[in-house]
């Protein structure tokens, strides 16, 4: 275990880098996923079609391919940004498709009477969605959205291969290949780092679920 204990500072910096990626991707994918879910239930046909197409494409492509298009495709088109931005954007776009679908299941669980009542008192579609339907939908979708987010935290390990670097997973490459440390203890240390992120996220989600549970 010396491989881990001697390099705690390296693990710590990798952990912070990965945590940063996770937090930004969480914010981004929740925001984008909510917008796309709104598109998919909107009364405007073209928005619904866009939402459906977005989900179909992004949900059915492997993440590595999405990231590949970001990191190597966009620069070919003359769009230049840092690989960190590309990687984060790829992760957000990919995860938003899953967030959208999980949220939509929550929207469908809100009884039609709620939306009809909102319309009856003169609320517009946007008001109905944001004031009446979504607040209830979020509550019911905490478990599925939570699962999607935890999967995303783990998926963030892939970004290291697309030029983002210095994340928790890349720490193992540095220790094993450059310093010649044993693989198993090093990679176990990496696993512990990800577990700290995912287990605490799971704990927070359980708290949130209890807090926002709808009393029936």
């Amino acid at each position: 275990m010396e491989a881990v204990t001697d390099n705690l500072d390296l693990y710590w910096s990798g952990f912070l880098r990965s945590l940063g990626i996770c937090v930004w991707a969480l914010v981004g994918s929740l925001a984008l996923g909510t917008v796309i879910a709104g598109f998919r239930v909107s009364p405007i046909a073209s928005l619904r079609a866009f939402g459906a197409a977005y989900v179909t494409v992004l949900r059915n492509c492997p993440l590595t391919i999405v990231l590949f298009f970001m990191a190597f495709g966009l620069p070919e088109l003359g769009i230049n940004a840092s690989f960190y931005t590309f990687g984060l954007l790829g992760l957000v776009l990919y995860t938003a498709a899953f967030v959208c679908e999980a949220l939509r299941s929550g929207i469908n669980a809100v009884s039609a009477g709620q939306a009809e009542a909102a319309r009856a008192i003169g609320l517009t579609f946007t008001q109905t969605l944001s004031q009446v339907v979504l607040p209830q939908a979020f509550r019911t979708s905490v478990p599925p959205v939570g699962s999607v987010l935890i999967a995303m935290f783990k998926n963030s390990a892939v970004l290291g291969a697309f030029g983002v670097g210095r994340d928790l997973f890349s720490v193992s490459d540095r220790l094993v290949s450059a310093q010649g440390q044993e693989y198993i203890p090093v990679i176990t240390g990496v696993a512990v780092g990800y577990l700290i992120i995912t287990l605490s996220a799971g704990g927070l989600l359980a708290l949130l679920e209890r807090k926002v549970a709808i009393a029936r």
Partner: protein, 298 residues
Amino acid sequence: MRTMTFRATAAAAAVVLAGSLAACGGDDGDDSSAPEPNEDATFEAGTTMAKIQEAGTLRVGTKFDQPGFGLQGLEDDPEGFDVEIAKIIAAELGLDPESAIEYTQAPSEVREQVIEDGDVDMVVATYTINDERKQRISFAGPYYTAGQMLMVAEDNDTITAPEDLADNPDQQVCSVNGSTPSENIREYLASEDQLTLFDEYSQCVDALGNGQVDVVTTDNVILLGYVGDSDGAYKLVGEQFTEEPYGIGIKKGDTEFCEFINTALQDNEDAYLEAWENTAGKVEGTETPELPEPDACA
């Protein structure tokens, strides 16, 4: 694991390239260039050499994706300078270098592991000798001294030496995650943000091509291959700023085997030079090396 799709594509591309290269120039002299097995080789019972000779095969770990050093074609055994070095040693053991070597892929992350586990008798895989690695295994050699350099686009006048990097923090430097060059370059950078890391050098070269990064750094022999392929789009700048002695990895503490390998190389200097000319030496701009003095075996 992480970039399976890309790796598969890159490997396929590399394989196609290697195939076409071999078809162009390799076939004519290959058979005669292989060293003749040393028929009178006898070894004291119990030594690694005696065990290998008895087994009749030399198990060699090498890279399968390093042009010029160890690159596997579609079906054939890998080809390259590292492979030729293994053949010289096999011949000195009294084995047929063409048929009695069993190759195992040994990418950077598993090189120590396969030696420790006894999966291979030795690793010849652009393997830089350093103290961290010596904790787990022993090295024979060195048989070649590479050096780290910088590759930039032809029109880049900003970077002329590694010392320029810290003064130009907007210049992005690319290398491979976990490689010795990526560790060496860190001291020249303004901050860690200046470093972009990929799994393969080919990705760095792509990124250089479309302007995502400005500098690619690794051992000169690898960069020269890319400069040669670029039609003048890239150039090397500055001097070699590190020494990377490539050694042959063997079981820790096997002094007899280490001394045997060193003697085998010293006795076959002609074969060594010929091996270079037929493999890595084909790249334009490379200088034929002299066989370095071996380190003391410990």
